[in-house]
């Protein structure tokens, strides 16, 4: 009996793949089914109403009590306006439109604006500052790549449709399918992706830098002096170097295996330098496997408005950037911030313990659709609509392609969008600051 409608070409708001061919069947303001959606996507669309925060709440005498947006906004604005060094964290799971308000808010309160790049691909960005990057959009991989490397990442788990839509199992103009491509996985453990590979190179943990440098050495025509590198016979890397040179169009995707193991930004430096070096022999590109559906967007918005992609300190009245000094994790670990606004993120869960403790010791305002350990540690919680499901906006795919997220269903009764909540807080902060 229920009237069903089918909405096509929906952009999925989960991972950096931002698949835009999702077909949703909607009935009575509820998503009944999702076609073309991977398990992660199905879970997000299907569980949209679970564990939601439905009303704003604030901590009074140590306990939560329900309130309304007006009071919650006023209290949030007061906390932020009075703080000397507030941290505005998160941003990767909301729209660019919300991120833009966030930049203005951070500037207005003279705080630090940071997104989840700090805990994820930040080291990669630091490497790009040093050596640059040779990259492309995902369609280029689909059309041309005959060699695909997944280094330190597991797309089967984190980006389930990556291989079918864009890489190894996809069909492109110049490569008809799996049989015309070679897949190499480099990892410290035998993952599902490794099992699918034509070649799996299991290096020892924290051996990435040496492995990459060994390949670069071979590329430059030098001999490897060591017999064992990263736990493998060095001849393994001589062979790999030859394979890389022999391909027509190679792409290296990399993940936290590089950014968060020993060496961090130096690992990515080595990877990007290798890819750059390969361009003197063949065509080769690299791409980070961005996790959240709009962390790339957060980098983009922050960069065009402030000049910097994350870890931006406005305390001097202008944007300053010095990751390690101005990044959220470090600020929280040192206990430097005296208040925090968290938007669409769960740092209490994801931060290293010291940073989470530092965060939990200051007043936290959280804007989020769901109950999380961060909302539980907050002083003010403002429920928000889920971007890409209950609110529209712009998001950037992992390769920088911008897409429009849609509002498919109405949010729970009375729940506002991030843009509305943030704008209200910004207005109130401006009132308190008296137009300084």
């Amino acid at each position: 009996m229920g009237e069903e409608s089918v909405i096509r070409n929906v952009v999925c708001p989960f991972c950096g793949c931002c698949c835009d061919d999702i077909e949703l069947t909607v009935s009575k303001n509820s998503i009944i089914s999702a076609k073309n959606a991977c398990a992660l996507s199905q879970a997000k669309f299907g569980s949209a109403r679970e564990e939601r925060v439905l009303r704003p709440k604030e901590r009074v005498n140590g306990k939560f009590s329900e309130t309304d947006y007006e009071r919650a906004v006023r209290r949030s604005a007061k906390i932020l306006a009075e703080a000397k060094y507030p941290l505005l964290w998160g941003w990767s799971c909301t729209s660019c439109e919300a991120q833009r308000v966030g930049v203005e808010l951070a500037e207005e309160v003279g705080g630090v604006l940071d997104n989840t790049t700090s805990t994820c691909h930040g080291p990669g960005l630091l490497a790009v500052h040093d050596v640059g990057e040779s990259t492309c959009t995902l369609g280029e991989v689909r059309h041309r790549a005959d060699l695909i490397i997944y280094w330190g990442c597991n797309p089967v788990h984190a980006h389930p449709r990556h291989m079918r839509r864009y890489t190894v199992q996809s069909e492109g103009r110049f490569r008809k399918g799996r049989e015309e491509r070679k897949m190499i996985v480099v990892d410290v453990r035998n993952t599902e992706a490794a099992k699918m590979a034509d070649e799996f190179i299991q290096i020892e943990p924290n051996g990435d830098y040496e492995a990459l440098t060994a390949i670069r050495t071979c590329l430059k025509g030098e001999e490897l002096e060591q017999e064992v590198i990263a736990g493998l016979p060095s001849t393994r890397f001589e062979k790999l170097a030859d394979e890389l040179i022999d391909c027509e169009f190679g792409v290296m995707f990399f993940g936290l295996g590089l950014t968060m193991s020993k060496g961090k930004s130096r690992n990515v430096d080595a990877a990007l330098s290798l890819v750059r070096d390969l361009n003197s022999k063949t065509k080769f590109l690299a791409m980070p496997m961005r996790g959240h559906f709009n962390v790339t967007g957060a980098n983009e918005v922050f960069a065009w408005q402030t000049g910097y992609p994350f870890a931006i300190d406005f305390s001097q009245g202008y944007p300053r950037y010095n990751p390690g000094d101005t990044s959220g994790v470090d600020i929280a670990s040192r206990g430097d911030c005296d208040a925090a606004l968290v938007v669409a993120s769960d740092p209490i869960s994801n931060f290293p313990l010291e940073a989470a403790k530092g965060l939990a010791s200051v007043p936290i305002i959280t804007i989020d659709p769901h109950e999380t350990p961060t909302t539980n540690a907050s002083d003010v919680v403002l429920p928000s609509a889920m971007v890409g499901i209950e609110a529209g906006g712009t998001a950037y795919r992992m390769d920088g392609v911008p897409l429009t997220l849609r509002k498919i269903i109405e949010p729970p009764e009375g729940v506002l969008q991030d843009t509305e909540i943030l704008s209200a807080i910004l207005r109130e902060v401006k009132n308190l600051n008296g137009g300084r």
Binding site: N9, R276, L285, Y308, P319, P402
Partner: protein, 555 residues
């Protein structure tokens, strides 16, 4: 100074109402006393890389570019950073302070056009437009290889509407597609790998499309072989390749940042200026316009859709290199650069840009640019103006340069000095006309009320001698009016308004459109990794949409 209306250095009243210049206003109107000041239409910059995916990639690549050049938040303005890749708010403010009121972002990858518009939306005060890239586009190459100019026109019209673009931009035609395999194209008649077409055919085909659609601006071309010694001959061939299809009285082709493609010589050590040959061709052929692409001696950033060129530059200099190939369409490359006075090549490049401007006789067909930021930041425009207006300024500059280069250049023997009227022409009147922006670049009735007032008296100041005064005055305008609002006073932002984004609502007759949609839908999914529906940018995406209706004459 209103050269478009034949007004040169006359004292006049300018009346404004409702954002437009009108015949007269009532006595209760606000009065600005611009006595003894230089009054021009607001500046119109025809080529400046200020917004979009590669501009932002450059910002992210180069935090060191902005560390020391920042602007604090004020009651009126947002904070930001500057130098060669300013953040968006700073871009708008800095252009406005110089008296510029319209700026074109000249190279937009259509797949990422949404990004360009987001950044343009965040660029305050100035009006803007963007040029989508077509010269390596798969659909375009296939249509033209078949000789289907009509089909191509329908596609280009759809693209302009869908990406909210203003003109047809062509960068290294065929070369960027070749670069997607690691190669390049070095001549107009080279074959593009896997596509049955040559750069000559791409340029001619798109020129025909441009005519068919009656687009307001000519095809805007960055020729093959940019940055290569000896490339001047290819540039002339490029200009010439559409001569037979040019219409009378209209430019058929615009060559962007011509300095970079006016190199004579076989290699870097024998590099010479080819400006004389280029200027000679431009002087004799009215179907061509060019812009300078002047270099400034500073640290800056090169960024272009010409991916293979940037790779070569990286290999030459060893500086960090960013590259981003865009599926089925185009690419981008970014490399930081430092232009040095004592460097033979850089000094020669500096001379080339100015020689072009001094040797091309018609100021309506040569425009002043630095191809920001490739030649230098746009904030250096007043310096370029001083070089154009004063031989003394040029001589002073040349004294400090590589003398080997200066000896071999034509520039020392060129005595021409631009007048204020000519400056007004090459920085606003001519660019507005070339763009087909009828209400810009002049101060006649009906024009947009965009006025720049500089604190220098053209009746008293001799720019040839007192070029420093001119330079100073044009850095920070006394008053800038945009759409009848005073946005700059005494060189500071007085009011922040949102500028318009111009785009061409190009159209073709119904039957052509139907044919296109059928063909497009079939191919789109094969070519792109996003859906056609998600490729199209809705009009309300633009903060202030200003469409210009244009198209094929209905049968």
């Amino acid at each position: 100074m209103d050269p478009a209306n034949g007004i040169e250095c006359e004292v006049k009243d300018i009346a404004m109402r409702g954002g437009k210049i009108v015949e007269e206003v009532s006595s209760s109107a606000k009065v600005i006393d611009a006595s003894e000041m230089l009054v021009m239409p607001g500046g119109v910059d025809i080529h400046s890389h200020i917004a979009g995916s590669k501009t932002n990639a450059a910002r992210m690549l180069r935090p060191e570019d902005h560390v020391t050049d920042f602007e604090r938040k004020t009651a009126l303005t947002r904070s930001g950073v500057g130098h060669s890749i300013p953040s968006t708010f700073t871009t708008g403010y800095r252009y406005a302070r110089m008296g510029y009121t319209t700026v074109i972002e000249p190279a937009t990858p259509p797949l990422m056009a949404r990004h360009t518009h987001e950044e343009l939306n965040d660029t305050p005060v100035i009006d803007k437009a963007c040029f989508p890239l077509f010269g390596n586009n798969w659909h375009v190459m296939e249509y033209l290889a078949k000789g289907d100019v009509e089909g191509c026109a329908a596609y280009v019209a759809w693209m302009l509407r869908s990406t909210k673009g203003y003109a047809i931009k062509i960068v290294n035609p065929g070369g960027v597609e070749a670069w997607h395999w690691g190669g390049n194209i070095r001549g107009l008649d080279w074959e593009v790998p896997h596509f049955d077409i040559t750069p000559r055919e791409i340029i001619r085909g798109l020129c025909r499309v441009n005519k068919m659609l009656k687009l307001p601006h000519a095809i805007h071309v960055h020729p093959n072989n940019l940055g290569k010694p000896g490339n001047y001959s290819n540039t002339i061939k490029t200009m010439d390749c559409v001569r037979d299809i040019a219409e009378d009285g209209r430019a058929a082709i615009h060559i962007a940042h011509c300095q970079f493609t006016s190199f004579k010589g076989e290699d870097w050590s024998t590099l010479r200026s080819g400006a004389e040959e280029i200027a000679d061709y431009v002087n004799k052929n009215r179907h061509v316009t060019i812009d300078m692409g002047q270099i400034i001696f500073t640290a800056t950033t090169t960024m272009t859709a010409d991916g293979p060129f940037e790779y070569i530059l990286h290999q030459l200099q060893g500086r960090k290199w960013y590259n981003a190939d865009v599926e089925a369409e185009t690419g981008a490359g970014i490399v930081p650069v430092v232009y040095k006075r004592k460097n033979f090549v850089n000094a020669t490049q500096w001379a080339i840009g100015l020689e072009l401007a001094l040797l091309v006789r018609d100021p309506w067909r040569i425009f002043m640019t630095t191809d920001h930021p490739n030649g230098g930041p746009f904030t250096a425009y007043p310096r370029v103006i001083s070089w154009l207006m004063s031989k003394r300024a040029r001589e002073g500059a040349m004294k400090r340069m590589n003398q080997n280069a200066i000896k071999k250049a034509n520039l020392p023997s060129l005595n021409r000095e631009y007048s204020f009227a000519e400056i007004a022409t090459v920085t606003r009147a001519a660019t507005a006309r070339a763009l087909g922006l009828k209400d810009k670049g002049h101060l006649g009735e009906g024009a947009d009320a965009d006025v720049a007032i500089y604190r220098v008296n053209p009746k008293e100041v001799d720019p040839s001698n007192d070029y420093r005064a001119v330079r100073k005055a044009m850095r920070r305008a006394a008053y800038v009016i945009k759409e009848g609002e005073m946005v700059v006073k005494d060189g500071e932002i007085a009011k922040v308004i949102e500028g318009k984004t111009f785009w061409v609502n190009a159209s073709v007759p119904g039957d052509m459109e139907v044919k296109l949609q059928k063909e497009l839908l079939k191919k789109f999914q094969d070519y792109y990794t996003i859906q056609a529906e998600n490729y199209v940018i809705a009009e309300d995406y633009l903060a202030r949409s200003a469409p210009i209706e244009q198209g094929v004459a209905k049968q």
